[in-house]
Structures are given as C-alpha cells and as structure tokens.
C-alpha cells in the first residue's frame, strides 16, 4: 500500500499520532474512561446524598476538593507562564516543549475550577455567584482571575497552533476533519502578512499572560491569607504560592514530556538537554520553595503565638506530622541531590525528582489546608480532624484521569509538539543565536544593522 502524502513530510512523526489511530489509543481512552466513570459515579453518590458522604465536617469544611483545586491551579503554571517566559526571553530550546506545556494549563485550569463546584453541597447555587456575587470576597477574585487566565491560556494555546492546523488541513483528504481544520486554520497560507499578524498577537499575548498567571496563584493564596486563621494569615502567602505553583508545574511538565517521548517516539524532539535545562530550573525552585517554607515556619515558631503554635505543633509532631515530613522528604530530600548532581540529572533522574515533587506538592496543599481548619483560631468552639471518604478519593481519581483523558484526546486532534516552531527553529535558530551573541560580545561586530 502506498504511503500517504503526509508521511513523506519533514516531521511526519509529529503528524502520525493525529492521522493514524492505533489500538493503544482505544485501550488508553477506554481505561481512562472507566476511571473517569468512577469519579462520575462518586459524584452522583455525593450529589444524591449531600456532603455528608465526604469526610468534611465542622470545622474542617475544606478537604480533598480544595486541595485538588489548589494543586491543579498550581500545575497550570507549567504551561502558559513557562512558555511565555521562555518565548519572551528567546530561549531557543523552548520550541519542542511550549505546546506540551500550554496544553497542561488549559486542561488543569478547567479541572481545578470544576473541583470548586464539586465542593459545593448545592451546586445549583453556583448561579448565585453570577447573579449576586460580592467582589469583596477573595473567592470571587479567584473566579475572575481564573476565568481570565483560562481564556488567555486558551487563546495563547490556539494562536501559535494555527500554522500547524493548516498543515493538518492540507494533510487530510476530506470529511469533517478537513472542515474542522479549515475553520480553525483561519485561511493560513504562510504569507508574510499573516506571519506579521501572528507574531504580533503571540508577543502581546506572551506579555499579557505573565502577570495574569502570577495574579492567579496569588489570588488563590488570598483565599487563605485574607482570613485570620493560624498559619494562613501570612503576607508571604502570595509569592509562596506562586513559587510552589511554578515548582509543581515544572514537575508536571517533565513527567508529561517523558511520557510523550516514550509513547510517540519523540526522542529527536525532546532531548536530554531539555530535561537537563528544566531540571536546573526545578532545582532553583526546590531551593526557593525550601527558603519560603523555612521563612514561613520560622516566623510562626519564633512568634510563639498560641493559636499559631497549635497548628505548627500538629504539623511537626502531631496528627499531621506524617504528611508534613513526607512533604519535606518528597519536595527536598529526594529531588535536591538528584537535581544538584550533574550525573543524576538525566531523563530518568529528572522524572524521578518530578514525580517526587508532584507528590510532595500535593501533600503541601493538604498540609496547608487541613491542620489549620482542624485547629482554628476560635478553637474553644470546635476542633476536629479530617479523614477523606471513598467518595472523595473516587472523585480525585476521576479528576486526574479526566486530565489524562483530555490530554490524550488533544494529542489525537492536534500535534503535541509545534511543527511550525520546530521548522522555524531548524531554519533560523543558528543565525538568530549567532546574531544575538555578536550583539553582546565585544569585538565580534554585527552581521546585520
């Protein structure tokens, strides 16, 4: 049988997952679909019976759902923010990883936001936010900034993808896919005028999404720090959350890159050097996160304020000590030596560190939320504890599976590595970098004026 026209193209391996459907795709979608159904079934149980089927109680009114919300919003920083920073700083090695990262943002923001609705005992009352929301509530700041970030990230994912959609439009022979790609390719022909428009739009968006991304996790932290609850009412919570978000975001990106590299045979595109550079970035974030955590806990300890100390001690030596020390172990003890030593900062090494950090950062969210609610400032009225129920665990499994399912479906519709950016890099990178080096190195002189 003759090979299809697209198979002869440069970078055909990037088109293959979109244009050829193997058995593995159906098996993966089926398996993930079953896990998503577990989540849906769990939610149906909760919807029918109310929040009584969860481990939530008085005074611990936030549990796994809010932990997952903060965690998912955190890893959303893997994508658009990192991609925008790398694009603006003209890091040439970014090209194969930008889309991998941007997709994460769009998927997890949606799932993170969904956890808030799941946390509502009466989800029908979400309409009250639209009709009677009060802007002095940080929860509404969250709703606004997450909507802005999700919208900006979706546009930022779509616009650089237009040339790739045009490639697909020209590669498929007909049917609904031809119509679909034709609609979203916006008549892309690669003309100079179109390139000018696209580049201008991407640059403006890249500048716009950085402050929006920073604002999102700052505002998420405000949900906690604007209260006067012990170990929440902290002025460094904004930057602490942003650092934690970028930290877990890079970890998520590395894990997904490794999976895609293995499944789609992208060894030529996602090279050890990408893992090495991101590993170094993650090393910086390990140190920054450790510094913020140390500053936060030392201030609490030195202040010795009774309500704060109750929470502090429950984390250090009490009911939540296992979670706290596990967090330190997974976030610092495992990744720090792996990432600090050149020899271990390999693909396997960075992925081990990244998985460890994802576990550690999930625990960090849990350790921030549950102990404070279990030991509130007005503890004389109520103290408590929190043990998640099977329903919450089922919904959590469903959420993580939904993320994976969305990612698989996306990679079936669009190339997961930007073909156009890779081609552009192949053709222009050396000249661009040479020109840049000439510009800042004394005595080399410039090639162009």
């Amino acid at each position: 049988m003759d090979k299809p026209r697209w198979a002869a193209q440069e970078d055909a391996i990037l088109l293959q997952p979109v244009l050829v459907t193997g058995k593995g795709f159906y098996v993966t979608v089926g398996a993930l679909g079953v896990l998503v159904l577990v989540g849906v079934a769990s939610y149906v149980i909760q919807f029918n019976n109310g929040l009584g089927v969860t481990g939530l109680n008085y005074p611990v009114s936030w549990g796994f759902y809010i932990v997952n919300f903060v965690f998912f919003i955190g890893i959303s920083h893997a994508g658009t923010l990192i991609s925008a920073i790398l694009r603006l700083s003209q890091a040439e090695w970014r090209r194969p990883i930008t889309r991998v990262a941007e997709v994460i943002t769009v998927m997890v923001l949606g799932i993170g936001g969904m956890n808030i609705i799941i946390d509502l005992g009466r989800p029908d009352r979400i309409s009250s936010i639209f009709l009677y929301g009060r802007y002095q509530s940080p929860l509404l700041w969250d709703a606004t900034s997450i909507t802005a970030y999700l919208t900006a990230s979706t546009v930022y994912l779509y616009i650089p993808m237009i040339p790739d959609i045009a490639i697909l439009r020209d590669a498929v022979d007909g049917g609904w896919r031809k119509t679909f790609y034709s609609v979203f390719a916006l008549g892309w022909t690669g003309s100079k005028r179109q390139h000018r428009v696209l580049n201008r739009a991407i640059t403006i968006l890249a500048v716009l999404v950085v402050p929006i991304a920073v604002s999102v996790h700052t505002v998420v932290s405000f949900v906690f720090s604007m209260t006067v609850q012990p170990m929440w009412h902290s002025t460094i919570f904004g930057p602490y959350f942003v650092v934690g978000a970028i930290f877990s975001g890079i970890a998520a990106l590395l894990v997904i890159m490794a999976i895609l590299r293995r499944i789609f045979h992208l060894e030529d595109y996602l090279q050890p050097i990408h893992f090495n550079y991101l590993g170094l970035l993650m090393l910086v974030m390990v140190l920054l996160w450790s510094y913020f955590t140390f500053a936060e806990y030392l201030t609490t300890y030195y202040g010795n304020e009774p309500a704060e100390m109750r929470v502090f001690m429950t984390k250090f030596d009490g009911q939540y000590s296992f979670g706290f020390w596990a967090m330190v172990f997974f976030n610092v003890v495992i990744p720090l030596p792996i990432l600090a030593i050149n020899r271990t900062r390999t693909i396997t090494g960075t992925v081990v560190a990244a998985v460890s950090i994802m576990i550690g950062m999930w625990l960090e969210r849990y350790i921030i939320i549950a102990p404070t609610l279990a030991n509130p400032r007005l503890h004389q009225y109520a103290t408590g504890s929190y043990v998640p129920s099977l329903v919450e665990i089922g919904i959590m499994v469903g959420c993580f599976s939904l993320f994976a399912l969305f990612y698989v479906l996306f990679s079936k519709i669009f190339p997961i590595v930007s073909i156009s950016e890779v081609r552009e890099g192949r053709k222009e990178t050396l000249a661009i970098v040479e020109e840049r080096v000439r510009r800042y190195t004394p005595g080399l002189g410039r090639l162009t004026t």
């Binding site: 009060r134 237009i162 739009a201």
Partner: protein, 104 residues
Amino acid sequence: MNTTGTKKGWSLTRARTLDGRLVLRLQLLVLAGFTVFAAGVIAWIGRLIYISWAWQDVFSASIGIALVAVPVFIVLLTIVIYTFWGLVFGKEPESADEMRNLER
C-alpha cells in the same frame, strides 16, 4: 518568523473542494461565540459593580477588581479579532515573488 506553516498551503487552499463560504461562516460563528463570551464576562462584572453600588456594598472593591479584569478581557477580544481579521483577509501574497515562493 517566516518559515512556519505549509509553503504549499496557499495553492492547496485555493484548490480545496470545501465550500469556502461555509468555512468562512463557521469561522465567523466561532468569532461571534468568543465575542459573546468576553462580552458576557464584562457584562457580569458590570452587574456585580451595579449591585454593589445599588446595595451600598463596598462599591470601591468592585471598581478596583473591574479596573484590572475588564481591560484584560477587552485586550484578549481585540487580539482575537485582530488575528482573525489579519489571517482570514491577509492570506494573499504581497508580491509576485512571495506568491511564487508560496506555490513552490
């Protein structure tokens, strides 16, 4: 950036069998959808400002948030319309040389 996308895209687009008008209508529909969404968010923020003013419920906070949020959505909408317009109506080559390059 001047090498992205398909060089043959232009000629292939010309030769496509799809009804170009249908594609354009669908594109306009997607653009209209996004416009309605952005306008909806802005209208929602406007409503919250109105409520806070009518109920004398910390009007300043609503204005403060709106001053940041509304321009973001306006800029996003502008970028989308600009890109849509620039690409859909900017596909023709600017010179004979460029046309030859695209068709090659």
